[in-house]
């Protein structure tokens, strides 16, 4: 999960001046290849995370090909550059489906692009494991889309588990008034209620907010044990700023997006200490095949994989597995197989609801400790023990 949404709001997307993208082809082995199409944000302001995604697909294809391909045929990735622009993505998927006639589809990143291409993909009756976290497309609206990334409402579930395990009872929720944080906040509230905690404060703030002092003071008046921000990076930093400056104390501070970015620690320095965040993936995870994945990825691309790479890698692997089991490229059969798939991936347990919503993947809790991110929850994945309660500022 990046902050693309956030970027789009403040900076501008290239909307009018489309480009002639050049297809980039992966390595092909012998035999007529199975061609897997996608668009990737390869250039422009949003390209940094998406290059990881492409590398994830490429590594998965290379591994599959090394193991003899799928249905005995090599996998070939056909990737075009969508520039982070939904309208370009639509054109590219049109081209992939109707003029390139690819055999399989995988997803662009992230939710806005997925949403843009969803109708087209559905109309073409092609299965697409999708990297869009919002749950709306997977509730029957687009039956050929299956969710290959953690669903938004589950993003912060482990944080609540952690808080509940410590006996914390009250939660204050600060929510950016945009869709992803709102959907997230609903999930947090439901989980908290289920765990016997109560949400004593919940307020939505506009995405343009820069000064959080009054909001934080208002939340503090309810004396919550836990202050949770359903946020992006800038707001998470702003809220920590305000809490520290106003000397607002709570036993635990956690944010959805923010602490996961290295800039959070750099920008806040000592104030970042002890703050919790969530991530979908961490290189140290003890998940199925992760050690090999990290090693291969680092060897091939010269840097450790991030979660974009991991979810993309896992989604192609899962798709290929379904094709292999079905024994053909019949999209309806592949879809049925996928909906029944339960498997362990580098990201975690993959499982779907009957309409294709991701019910297996969850997230992992990290904490800033001594200027570093440590994975602290769930316990069996921890790289360091949890440090709680949060010390006075």
């Amino acid at each position: 999960m990046t902050t693309r949404r956030e970027l789009l709001q403040t900076s501008a997307a290239i909307t009018l001046l489309g480009a002639m993208a050049q297809p980039r082809r992966g390595a092909a082995a012998a035999g007529p290849p199975i061609r897997v199409g996608c668009s990737i944000t390869q250039t422009g302001p949003y390209s940094a995370p998406a290059v990881f995604e492409l590398q994830g697909y490429q590594l998965a294809a290379a591994e599959l090909n090394k193991a003899g391909g799928v249905l005995g045929r090599p996998i070939e990735i056909v990737a075009y550059d969508d520039q982070g622009n939904p309208s370009t993505a639509v054109q590219l998927y049109q081209k992939l489906i109707h003029s390139d006639r690819v055999d399989l589809l995988v997803s662009p990143y992230e939710a806005d692009l997925v949403l843009a291409v969803a109708p087209l993909v559905t109309r073409a009756r092609m299965v697409m494991p999708s990297l869009g976290a919002n749950i709306e497309p997977y509730q029957g609206k687009y039956p050929y889309l299956i969710q290959a990334i953690t669903q938004t409402p589950r993003y912060m579930v482990p944080v609540i588990d952690l808080a509940a395990s410590r006996g914390y009872k009250t939660v204050a929720l600060l929510v950016q008034n945009t869709q992803f944080p709102q959907e997230l906040a609903k999930g947090i509230a439901d989980e908290a209620t289920a765990k016997g905690m109560s949400v004593v404060f919940r307020e939505a703030y506009a995405p343009t907010t820069t000064d959080f002092s009054a909001l934080v003071l208002k939340a503090a008046e309810r004396k919550p044990d836990v202050i949770i921000g359903a946020t992006y990076l800038a707001d998470a930093m702003g809220i920590v700023h305000a809490a520290k400056a106003e000397n607002v104390q709570a036993k635990m501070f956690a944010f959805s997006i923010g602490p996961v970015e290295p800039e959070f620690g750099k920008g806040l320095g000592p104030a970042a200490e002890g703050i919790f965040g969530t991530t979908l993936y961490f290189p140290s995870l003890k998940t199925a095949g992760n050690e090999a994945f990290v090693a291969d990825f680092t060897a091939k691309f010269g840097r450790a994989p991030d979660y974009h790479a991991a979810v993309a890698y896992a989604s192609l692997k899962v798709l290929a597995g379904a094709v292999q089991r079905v024994g053909s490229l019949d999209q309806d059969k592949i879809l049925r197989a996928l909906l029944q798939t339960q498997t362990d991936t580098v990201v975690g347990r993959f499982a779907l609801s009957p309409t294709g919503m991701q019910t297996g993947y969850t997230s992992y809790v990290l904490q800033w400790q001594k200027g570093k991110q440590e994975l602290v929850w769930p316990r069996e994945q921890a790289t360091a023990p949890v440090e709680l309660p949060h010390p006075a500022w």
């Binding site: 949404r5 789009l8 709001q9 501008a12 997307a13 290239i14 909307t15 009018l16 001046l17 489309g18 480009a19 002639m20 250039t43 422009g44 390209s47 520039q83 622009n85 939904p86 309208s87 639509v90 054109q91 049109q94 081209k95 109707h98 003029s99 939710a111 806005d112 949403l115 843009a116 969803a118 109708p119 087209l120 919002n134 008034n177 945009t178 869709q179 992803f180 506009a206 995405p207 343009t208």
Partner: protein, 592 residues
């Protein structure tokens, strides 16, 4: 050199010029259609992008270029059109063509109240106010749940870009055609006059307010169609792409690059810049925005007129003269220069009593009484700072008096807008000449004539006749700045007379004129007076107007200090003292 060229008979008739331009537009549109027809590939998408750029640039140019209200938030209407169309298709289950038309209508009607508010602003304030408006609308769209809030929504779209590209090409070409035609209408002429000088336009009888709101709505309409077409093509809509500042930047850049305020500027700029942007993105995706920004700076500094300014001003790509050229004088049917109803009113046509105007603590005009009868010529003289020009502003409705009142033809003029007064027959000139610099001599006069005449033929005939009488017909195609100062003054008087006024207010109209020019003015004014036009002429010194004036009123420090026949007033010691102090009495007036 330019004088010689301008005076030469035109190489092409304006009709031929128009036909050539239409042919070029047709060729461009046909090639667009041809490429779009090749299939659903990138070429079709590119044609769509180019055509959409041309459409948006053309719409922006109506308000930003023709009318001079530069907007940094025209994308507001693009977004409104996009949203309205999407809602029509999604929630009212309308077919696309109807949804697009309704969306355009909705955005255009919304432009009326928005225009009424935003067009109170000028210059930078308007530009930035519009920017703020786009941001407010984006925030509102973020909160609009039926279109998915900030996440956006998918909308059933066209199958591939070929058909939308073709439709957009046709609409963009039509838009350019509409603007070309608009530039040859009353509204177009008025808009260009407002861009050049809103005050002078008002004085020439232009309802500035209405005209610019109309331009705002037309520009908004084009942007809204663009928004609807955009959604139809891509089938996806979210607030940050519907109200993207980048669209605004690119639109402004295209218009500037091509040539602001021209028909072909947005077309050429739209085509060139969208192709350039595509090439730039392909080669330098990360640097594209820097290059575009630098290009904007370069154009702002080095080529403010855009590519069109490199073409000859009277070439076939230029704007054809509005309703011109003037025919030979003999063809014109002469019209009565004075409203009969007013001329028949007995007594003075313009009266003011105890008229006063204070600025802060200073009384610029202080209890002046004045009246003038039909056919009478009244000279108002006074030293610098005597309050003469303020008096004219009060008489012509440009300023509201602090005390007293003005009656014109028996009606009080309080709360009557200047353009209404101008149309009813109060015409004025300005102390420093306020001609419309980008309108030709002919169009300067025609602008006032269309305020008086509903029928085109009458307006053309009246304007032709005035040019003839002023000796300006040869110069009809030139721009005002190409005329010598005295002839510019003549032109300004011609413009005022084109309103066929019952009262003509001349503010130092003969300053800087040569002897023969003054004689010419006298002849014209005598003719006007003979037909019943009352003339009030401000002069700094008397000689220019004395031969015509039956009466002279002398102002100093906002008060009337003397009044009477020219000869009496000139020997009044108060007057002499006011002008010269007591020592040098009379020297300046000796030759009068």
């Amino acid at each position: 050199m330019s004088a010689a060229r301008a005076a030469r008979p035109r190489f092409l008739s304006d009709r031929a010029q128009f036909a050539l331009q239409a042919a070029l537009l047709g060729v461009l549109a046909a090639s667009g259609l041809l490429i779009a027809g090749q299939g659903n590939g990138y070429a079709a998408q590119l044609v769509f992008n180019v055509a959409l750029s041309v459409l948006l640039a053309t719409g922006w140019n109506v308000i930003g270029g023709m009318t001079g209200y530069v907007s940094f938030g025209q994308v507001s209407f693009f977004g409104l059109g996009a949203y309205a169309a999407a809602i029509g298709v999604l929630h009212l289950a309308l077919p696309w063509p109807i949804a697009a038309l309704l969306a355009t209508a909705a955005a255009t009607s919304l432009a009326v109240p928005l225009g009424l508010i935003m067009l109170r602003l000028n210059g930078i304030f308007f530009a930035l106010g519009m920017f703020g408006l786009a941001r407010i609308l984006q925030i509102a769209a973020n909160g609009l749940n039926i279109t998915g809030g900030p996440m956006g929504t998918t909308v059933p779209a066209a199958e591939g870009p070929a058909f939308p590209a073709a439709v957009t090409v046709v609409i963009a070409a039509a838009a350019a055609g509409v603007v070309a035609a608009l530039m040859r209408t009353r509204l177009g002429l008025r808009l260009m006059a407002i861009r050049d000088d809103p005050v002078a336009a008002e004085a020439a009888g232009v309802n500035v307010w209405l005209a610019k709101v109309a331009a705002f709505c037309i520009g908004a309409g084009f942007a809204a169609i663009g928004g609807a077409l955009y959604v139809w093509n891509i089938g996806y809509l979210d607030p940050s792409s519907a109200f993207a500042g980048t669209i605004e930047l690119q639109t402004v850049l295209m218009v500037l690059a091509g040539g602001i305020g021209t028909v072909w500027g947005p077309v050429g700029g739209g085509i060139l810049m969208s192709l350039l942007g595509t090439v730039l993105w392909a080669r330098f995706p990360m640097e594209q925005q820097i290059v575009l920004g630098a290009l904007t700076m370069l154009i702002a500094v080095a080529l403010p007129g855009g590519l069109m300014s490199l073409l000859p001003r009277r070439g076939w790509m230029a704007r054809p003269p509005i309703w011109g050229p003037p025919r030979e004088a003999s063809e014109g049917t002469l019209l009565p220069a004075v409203r009969v109803a007013v001329a028949d009113t007995p007594g003075p046509v313009l009266v003011c009593r105890n008229l006063g105007k204070r600025f802060g603590g200073v009384a610029a005009v202080d209890g002046v009484d004045l009246e003038v009868a039909p056919g009478e010529v009244l000279a108002v003289i006074g030293p610098n700072g005597a309050g003469k020009s303020t008096l004219f502003n009060l008489l012509s409705g440009f300023a509201v008096p602090s005390t007293g009142e003005v009656e014109f033809a028996g009606c009080k003029i309080a709360n009557i807008r200047p353009y209404v007064l101008a149309r009813r027959g109060v015409a004025r000139t300005f102390q420093t000449s306020r001609l419309f610099p980008t309108l030709s001599v002919w169009e300067n006069v025609l602008l006032a004539a269309i305020s008086r005449h509903r029928r085109k033929a009458h307006a053309v005939a009246a304007a032709t006749e005035l040019l003839e009488r002023m000796g300006l017909r040869e110069d009809w195609a030139r721009l005002p700045q190409g005329l010598p100062p005295g002839r510019r003054r003549l032109l300004e008087i011609a413009r005022a007379l084109a309103l066929e006024p019952s009262v003509l207010l001349l503010d130092e109209a003969m300053a800087g004129m040569t002897g023969p020019e003054i004689a010419q003015v006298h002849q014209v004014l005598r003719a006007a007076a003979a037909r019943g036009c009352a003339i009030v002429a401000i002069e700094h010194v008397l000689p220019a107007i004395a031969p015509l004036a039956a009466r002279v009123q002398v102002l100093d420090f906002g008060r009337t200090i003397a009044e009477g026949a020219p000869a009496e007033v000139l020997h009044d010691p108060t007057v002499i003292a006011a002008y010269l102090g007591t020592d040098m009495a009379g020297t300046e007036f000796a030759h009068a």
